[in-house]
């Protein structure tokens, strides 16, 4: 149920490679668990992140989730629309509600991420607990 055109992390972020850059967001599964998203603390443009490091914070009414970067690199763009319309993350997490674009520091990292089938399976197992 998660689109096959991108890769996923076990911490529920997605990465879509676009040339030398990667677009990052949180998954449908993640937003569903959080509930109504009310605030996104966006990263600063220019910030250097390593794979697995905290990229931003997503808040719902009664939960907070740290969002980790699926890849290393430099933040080159952030989705400013989320500042005013955090609810986009519930409506279109894989599309309009992308969070940031990262200039990929190590394109090799992408292969360490899950493909959509493995991620779907991972979500299913996690929910089973």
């Amino acid at each position: 149920m998660h689109p096959a055109d991108r890769r996923y992390t076990k911490t529920h972020e997605w990465l879509k490679v676009e040339g030398a850059e990667g677009r990052v967001g949180i998954t449908h599964h993640a937003q569903d668990h959080l509930g109504d998203v009310v605030f996104v603390e966006l990263p600063a443009v220019g910030k250097q992140v390593k794979q697995g490091e905290q990229l931003c914070v997503v808040e719902s009414v009664k939960a907070v989730a740290d969002c980790y970067s699926p890849a290393s690199g430099k933040v080159v763009k952030v989705n400013k629309r989320l500042a005013d319309s955090p609810e986009l993350l519930n409506k279109d997490p894989h599309g309009e509600a992308w969070i940031a674009v990262i200039e990929l520091g190590d394109p090799g990292e992408v292969s360490s991420l899950l493909d959509s089938a493995s991620y779907d399976k991972f979500c299913e197992e996690e929910s089973g607990h």
Partner: protein
Amino acid sequence: MNYIPHTDNDRERMLEAIGVGRVAELFEDIPKKVRLGRPLDLPPGMSELEVYSLLYGLSKKNLNLNDCVSFLGAGVYDHFIPAVVDHVISRSELYTAYTPYQPEVSQAVLQIIYEYQTAICELTGMDVSNASHYDGSTAAAEAAIIAAMHTGRRKAVVSEAVHPEYRRTINTYAHGYGIEVTEIPCSGGVTDWSRAPEAMSGAATLIVQNPNFFGCLEELQSAERAAHGAGALFTVIVDPISLGVLRPPGDYGADIVVGEGQSLGNAPSFGGPYLGIFAVKSPLVRRLPGRVIGMTRDNRGQRGFVMTLQTREQHIRREKATSNICSNEALCAAAALVYMTTMGKQGMREVGELCTAKSHYLAGRLAEVGYRPAFQAPFFKEFAVRCPVEPESIVTRLAGEGILAGYPLGRAYPQFRDCLLIAVTEKRTRSEMDTFVARLEGLK
């Protein structure tokens, strides 16, 4: 007296439903090793009649402010409390409620706090107020902590003219959290801003009180420049009563405003419960400690109020929360709101004007009889005088005559051993002040 409704029959019926013979069986999981095994060593219980006379007797051993003339302030003030204040906060729907976790049956507390937040924002000129903090001192201490969180710096600079108990509380919190505290000395009863640039290097915030502990008005433009020039947040501690006549800190660049809200309709009560005022400018809204109430709509389309921005708070953010505060001072905030509503736009100014006029009258009269002002800086309702006799002995002698003369500054500032800090609220009359002047003159 134990306020328990059960009869022996009730208890038997309940034990039967549980399936045990005696209440003691329900305690058998407490290991013998840790049991008390004797009655608690406390005085025996008593009837309501007896307990009330006991408490009444204890209360009569205290000299209360209604039975004396008080010029004692130093952070706690004997302002007039209109009758409606106690009437409203005695509504037991309000005072017997817990935190408004269920908004559908808590609209009173929620709306009252929203109205309180609005009043505090109006009074201070700030954008957002929380639902209350413990008191002025803890609010000041937590201002230092959120400034450290916000700036990533671990240093707070505090004026020496900030209330000594606040500085002590700030130090305790700062030591725990890991913040270094530096003080800026005073000169002539106000902070010596020439010392600020050096002190401010690497600081998260500058904390200044206005009017300061000596009652003096600080030169706030310099303070603001010192704080913002160093990239620090500017924190101002206020006396809310003074804001009827003094410029609101939001106007002169404060990022955080804290203060003691006791003066707003709360009794002195020997030091508490009081009300910590805590307000910030918009960029700091997600750093605000404690509860915040917001307006929203219900599923029937009606306006309603809820606790909001809860992800800052301990029950969700746990160790990453902006504060550990849970219980606050909601009922004291309600008292403050009723007070501010009773006084209203005109009354708040009038109270401030009365305090200013009366305190300046007394200061002038005292100077005539040899109790000269300790400082030349302008003041609002409190001022220090140099005494020709030992201030502690003045306090003791006049207390015996039903006059609370003030606060001997030497208790907290050894360099001002000969100074007495005197507060005048709107409650003092000219004849009370004239008597006070005559008594002080007689002590020379």
